[in-house]
């Protein structure tokens, strides 16, 4: 025991923080899984578990771009959409050959991440030349373009393989036994649900592993150096474009993986879901959790996802209250006076605790 404790204190603050994050996720999982298996969890909450995991992962990924790399991205939902549709296509194609849901889900997530990563790379190369708000608007533009193209995308599968088209289903020229996978704006319908809470938690942990290790690596330090002072970083011989691109593509790929999990959790998904509003929602999670703060993102995404559901009893006033809460939280956490007030209270509490400890 003592050894463990010793080892713990000998760890750097960063890795300790990392382990605490894993701990939080695992504790969350254990609590909710046991509640689930004893059926003592409300339907409402149990239905939200997978989406919570999805949004936590996407928000963590966005935090990598916004917090660590310091670029405002407003198109995160686009990558999620790419991942979601890829995941659905992969899962539907494999349905006949692999009947095991979890294995199919793994394939779907891997492919979702890959394609979204490629999309991220293609978009990142031109985009990352821009800076600040211009970069933000271009990511917004790409998000909208992805949505728009998904809206015109028709995909089917038959014995000859996959068919892609931009006009409509009949023009795909499929054989009679062909299955329509994506039907333009109607999206994918009749998806077999294979996402599970366990898969979601594993994805969250994987994301944490990737992001925390990235941050604490040489690459991560280079990325943060660019964020803090681009010119100084450049002068030190850091390849700005390369490192920015690493952060951006990693973020896109993770968002794609989460998208695949998301797509396979509902029996239907439509391109419209992955629009600007969803991107903004994810950004809200990141900013409210504290830019660059991993644990904050974990908590903010979870709490903010559940909040509108908890407000359901207010009926018509639900979204109004949500808006007010959002504004108030931003004011309280970002206003100097409010911050000082909170700090003072915290210090007092700590003092009291310390006294009690004596």
């Amino acid at each position: 025991m003592k050894n463990v404790l010793k080892k713990w204190t000998s760890l750097s603050k960063n890795s300790r923080d990392g382990f605490i994050n894993y701990g939080i996720v695992i504790v969350f999982f254990v609590i909710f899984q046991s509640l689930l298996s004893t059926k003592s969890l409300s339907n409402s909450l149990s239905g939200q578990l997978v989406p919570i995991c999805v949004y936590v992962v996407v928000a963590l990924a966005l935090n990598l771009v916004v917090g660590i790399s310091g670029e405002l991205s407003l198109g995160q939902a686009g990558f999620m959409g790419v991942g979601a549709f890829t995941g659905v296509i992969v899962s539907t194609c494999l349905q006949s050959s692999i009947s095991n849901g979890p294995i199919r889900l793994i394939f779907a997530i891997i492919f979702g991440a890959m394609i979204a990563g490629i999309a991220g790379l293609l978009i990142g190369i031109p985009v990352l030349r821009l800076r600040g708000d211009y970069l933000a608007i271009v990511t917004l533009a790409f998000g909208e373009i992805i949505k728009n193209i998904l809206n015109c995308l028709y995909v089917g599968v038959d014995s000859h393989g996959l068919h892609f088209g931009m006009v409509d289903i009949p023009s795909l020229g499929m054989e009679a036994d062909g299955i329509t996978i994506i039907n333009g704006p109607m999206g994918a319908v009749g998806i077999t649900k294979i996402s599970t809470f366990l898969a979601g938690i594993i994805l969250v942990i994987l994301t944490l592993v990737i992001i925390q290790n990235l941050i604490n690596s040489r690459t991560g330090r280079a990325i943060m150096a660019i964020r803090d002072n681009r010119i100084a970083a450049e002068a030190c011989g850091i390849n700005v474009t390369k490192y920015k691109l690493i952060a951006f593509v990693t973020s896109a790929a993770i968002a794609g993986a989460a998208g695949a999990l998301y797509g396979l959790n509902f029996s239907t998904i439509v391109p419209k879901k992955f629009d600007f509003n969803t991107s903004i929602l994810i950004l809200v999670f990141v900013v409210l959790g504290g830019i660059g703060n991993i644990r904050g993102t974990l908590i903010a995404a979870t709490v903010l996802y559940i909040l509108p559901e908890l407000l359901r009893e207010f009926a018509d006033y639900r979204m109004l209250i949500y808006a007010i809460v959002l504004i108030l939280v931003m004011l309280v956490t970002n206003n100097e006076k409010a911050k000082q007030l909170i700090n003072r209270v915290l210090v007092k509490l700590k003092l009291r605790k310390a006294k009690e400890g004596e």
Partner: protein, 417 residues
Amino acid sequence: MKKKLLSVVLAATMVFSLVACGSSESNSSAEGASSESVATTTDASGDVAPAGDGAVTGTLKLGLIGPLTGGAALYGTACANAAQLAVDEINAQGTGLTVELNAQDDEHDAEKSVNAYNNLKDWDAQAIVGCVTTTPCVAVSAEAYADRMFMLTPSASSTSVTEGKDNMFQLCFSDPNQGSASAQYIYDNGLATKVAIIYNNADAYSTGIYQTFKAKADEIGLEVVSETTFTDDTANDFSVQLNAAKDAGADLVFLPIYYTPASLILQQANTMGYAPTFFGVDGMDGILDIEGFDTSLAEGVLLLTPFAADATDDLTVSFVNSYKSAYGDTPIQFAADAYDCVYAIVAALNFYAEKNGALNVDGMSYDELCEILISVFSDPNFSVDGLTGEGMTWTAKGEVNKAPKAVVIKDGAYAGM
């Protein structure tokens, strides 16, 4: 004695409710239905069999899912309002059955809709009216299918809503029905030689009708000269689409879209001096009631709709009046559909009770109620007269059978064709 008295009262109220469901235009059929129900109920009260008195008792917990906020709030709110109206009426009748309604917001989003559904399950809902819009409905019906929860949607019209799910029924026409019926109607009545279509390609409802319309038009030889689209993000300016239709010489423009963009299309066509025949579908209903809309612009517009708010039959008039006095707006077709949904579910319970003696829904589990409702709705003898159709029956697939009505807008009001 008490029981007998009760059954007489119940029989009377049931007759009343059935008459209320029928429309005066079809007095004969409504009377037929009511006399039937009188016959069955007297039968039931006549032999004092242990089977019961053929009445439905208890409290039914109905959930409703629809967009109450966001861009599609209009449709969800109309449904929630009208369903509440129907529930209040049923409760005021004082039969043994009371209905509780809980409307939950889904923001026209599949994910939120599933959340809303789960929330309703926590509330112990026994059946669902909804979802109002197609995409959420596909998502929720899959959940409900796994759970065995009965769903009757007022307005989610895509076939993918009901496909492969025996617990899911529609009260509105399905998209293929509407699309091909429209093409057939245009062709049969020689309304046009060249047709242009403007549809919303970001909307499942609109694209669904467009696809079936196009297929039918190709099949019967109706020439489609221009097909243009818009999305919710570009639903402001229709000059390009209208010019394309005009340049192609279309004499009829088919608008399988909702009435809000349709009103803009009419206004812009008028500004540019283009006056073809406009042909709409059920989503077009409501266009005359946009506050401040110049109804002369809609003169001559044809639409295929099961409900018209200015129809003069008693049922529609009383519904429109009570809706107006309760909520201040003229009800749109969605409202009528949702109103019918509530009555259809109650009628189904009555139907079952008559056949099987009695039915107490108090605390009945949703899967138990689901099997009952499925059996009734797939029963070819079960028919409902409502605002949106007389003698509506359902196929086991979940689609409704009712006749589409074509109406034309004349002097700012609907007129039958």
